[in-house]
């Protein structure tokens, strides 16, 4: 009777994502420790309320996750309570973590990573996230964790690609430092880095325009700009740029332009293995290199001109006798 009452109170309390999750996620009998911790991570807040409720409840049936296949006993009505009871005692240990404790962020990362394989099918949408969650054995309602919906998925993918790129560039940098590899020319390095990063889009190229438009939504712009600027900074750093003047800004701006335009060309490129895209990239990098050389020449000419003018001024001062030590 008491268990029924607590049950209804809990149901009335709210359709928390976790509650619905447990109801829908059909994991009966043997519950893996990871799943247990997933649930724990999910509804910490719920548990705090449960702790208030069920502290006095001593006559509670044994918990289902002690690997006792009680398929018959673990009916849906008593399931919420069983999970609640042991979890509250876990809570009482004031947040001490077991070895397999997983934070909510880690769980989100896991769900988003597994959601990526459903992107070709569902696009960059909440359905893909739901499908990914279901693969991990969670309810599709766990998409409620992601306030930004599809934006979270796209940003996660971008962050993952950038991290992969940074890692690869760091490894190459190490090899060069150890003398085991040749260091590349700047233009070649930039070309290879941008190509490497863009090739990570190939599996998702059909749905990438949708992702790009999601990244351009106003609430996603700060994050997407941050990812882009970090990536460009990484590429230039490993290309050997250590400038501390306006070159720092102009180089990164140039590479951002190259990257964005090449990405746009790539999404509408239908040539085999995206040859046209790589040709376009080659040409843009050549343009930038040419511009940099021209800028240097202009500066050199300007300096020579200034020197010439100074020489003329000094000659004039000498002629008029003004150039004397005061």
């Amino acid at each position: 009777m008491r268990s029924l009452w607590l049950d209804m109170a809990a149901l009335v309390r709210g359709l928390r994502a976790g509650r619905v999750l447990r109801g829908l996620g059909s994991v009966q009998g043997i519950v893996s420790p990871q799943c247990r911790n997933v649930r724990r991570g999910f509804h910490r807040a719920t548990l705090l309320r449960l702790a208030d409720d069920s502290k006095s409840g001593t006559s509670v049936p044994p918990p289902s996750f002690h690997e006792v296949p009680t398929a018959g006993e673990s009916s849906s009505s008593s399931e919420p309570l069983e999970d609640g009871q042991p979890n509250t005692s876990y809570q009482d240990q004031s947040g001490e973590h077991g070895e397999d404790y997983e934070t909510e962020e880690q769980l989100q990362v896991r769900i988003l990573t597994s959601a990526l394989e459903f992107v070709p099918e569902h696009g960059w949408t909440v359905e893909a996230i739901a499908a990914g969650a279901e693969t991990l054995g969670l309810s599709s309602a766990s998409t409620g964790m992601f306030n930004n919906g599809a934006g979270d998925l796209v940003l996660h993918f971008v962050a993952q690609c950038n991290a992969q790129l940074a890692e690869t560039l760091a490894e190459q940098h190490n090899l060069v430092q150890l003398g085991q590899a040749e260091s590349k020319e700047t233009a070649e390095f930039l070309r290879d880095a941008v190509e490497m990063r863009l090739r990570m889009l190939i599996p998702y190229i059909d749905t990438w325009p949708q992702a790009m438009s999601i990244l351009l939504l106003p609430h996603n712009i700060p994050d997407s700009l941050k990812h882009l600027s970090t990536m460009v900074d990484d590429v230039w750093y490993y290309a050997g740029d250590r400038s501390t003047d306006m070159n720092w800004y102009t180089r990164r701006a140039a590479l951002t332009g190259i990257f964005n335009t090449t990405e746009l060309v790539m999404v509408q490129d239908s040539s085999p293995d995206f040859e046209e895209t790589w040709d376009f990239l080659d040409n843009r990098i050549k343009d930038v290199v040419n511009m940099a050389n021209t800028a240097k020449q202009v500066q050199a000419t300007g300096e020579a001109l200034v020197q010439g003018l100074m020489g003329a001024a000094i000659t004039l001062k000498n002629l008029t006798g003004m150039n004397q030590r005061r």
Binding site: E171, V176, S183, G240, W248
Partner: protein, 223 residues
Amino acid sequence: MQRAAKCALRPDLSLVFCPSSVRNCRAVNRVNGSVLCRRYSVLPPPRDKEEKAMLDSMLRVDHAGEYGANRIYAGQMAVLGRTQTGPLIQHMWDQEKIHLEKFNEILGEHRVRPTLLLPLWNIAGFALGACTALLGKEGAMACTVSVEESISEHYNSQIRTLMETDPERYTELLQIIKEFRDDEIEHHDTGLEHDAESVPGYFLLKTAIQVGCKAAIYISQRI
């Protein structure tokens, strides 16, 4: 690219032990620095984003300050270069060049963004140096006194911040800032010795320059 070539000649074996991000390798760099590679780390590898942001803004403003001081002395030399105070100003300028070089190195190595307003400080510094030098030797010295006072006050507050946070962690950085602060105070005293206070409107000039310096410091920390 030259840097990569330089380090290829001096293989840094510490990097073998940490194949992941280069940033993390700096901790190992610090230990092996004296043995293998001339390159050593002035900063500890950042613990978290807040520390990185704090160190970034500190180094950014210091770099901007040295750059500005460089340009001020350049302006003064342009006007007074061939007078009797020329060698004195040149000597102080050379020391500032060393400071700027050091900060350039630190910024490049630790991936600190330089301030966006460098061209502005370029022009403003040169203009300030040239204009005060046009007031004569005393004017130039007054400008030196004001600027060096602002900069040494700024370095002192940075030293205080670092000491309050964790002196052990920032030993090298503290050493560098202390050294530079001592140099700036020496310039300040030199300026006073050479009749800075005898320029007409000294107090007004000093206040105006110091207000400008404070504004420049405030902006460079953020932008």
